[in-house]
Symmetry: C2
Subunit: 165 residues, 2 copies
């Protein structure tokens, strides 16, 4: 099975979300791929709230094993979380642990009215009872590899990389 | 739509779970209805680990609004959570906030290998990206009411009650 086209997935994801968002809906991208996807969705959906970004490294339950990534980024939510409709955005959904970490970080900022989850790819292998609200496709990478989003000249593309986890 | 028969739902839920559990799988019931369901599933599935119980009142994100229930119960996990396959068990899945709270409480005990979710009823109305792994049925109670599990003479039954939330 060849790698899906990221730009086509993005367009499909935006169409799934369009009937369910209002201008006041806020997107929250998960570093790094999810931030790129959120920026593109924000433009395509014409949302007024600027997208937020979360770096959940410190919140992951396996933080002790993984340690700090060399390029630690920071979180930024340029809107009030309290009572808001939020959509977490990530490139690939796998175990669900990143999503749990993101929810915990979000709830440290306030109590949103509703949090949905939008992903380009669901690669299965869930370890927590998490499910995407919007998902462009399911794709299982070959054994020992993982699928990784890249950005070149403002275009998104998917690549395979060794799965080091 | 008439209320489903809780004993029939229980039997169906056990059949869904049977191929996916091992004797070492541990069930964790959420107070109060989920504890009853977990006890019955434990017997039907012939699991060796005694079921645990969680009371998530203190972990809910709306604790400040709801306050302490009059009958505060305690949590008990009679097994090591670390590295284990756990199944959270509840009677009714609604917003998903209780499940998030339960996951946070579980992870305070250790880092499970995998956590699944089994519910008798999915009543919709999700406010978090949570999904049941095993679900006996979907049922939407009439407006202003909620569905509530009761236990009489060791038999489970469903009732409607005013939705005070």
């Amino acid at each position: 099975m060849s790698l899906p086209d990221a730009e086509a997935l993005l367009a499909g994801l935006a169409e799934q979300m369009r009937p369910h968002v209002t201008p006041d809906t806020a997107l929250v991208g998960l570093h790094t791929g999810g931030v790129w996807v959120a920026q593109r969705l924000h433009a395509q959906l014409g949302l007024t709230q600027p997208p937020g970004a979360l770096d959940v490294s410190f919140y992951r339950d396996d933080y002790a094993q993984r340690g700090l990534a060399r390029d630690t980024r920071s979180s930024s939510l340029p809107f009030d979380v309290e009572g808001r409709h939020l959509v977490l955005v990530d490139d690939v959904l796998h175990t669900g642990r990143t999503v749990r970490a993101a929810l915990n970080e979000l709830f440290d900022y306030g109590r949103p009215q509703r949090v949905e989850l939008a992903v380009l790819i669901d690669r299965g292998g869930r370890q927590l009872p998490v499910a995407p609200t919007y998902c462009a496709t399911r794709y299982m990478p070959p054994d020992g590899q993982r699928v990784k989003l890249a950005q070149e000249d403002d275009r998104l593309l998917l690549r395979l990389a060794p799965d080091t986890e």
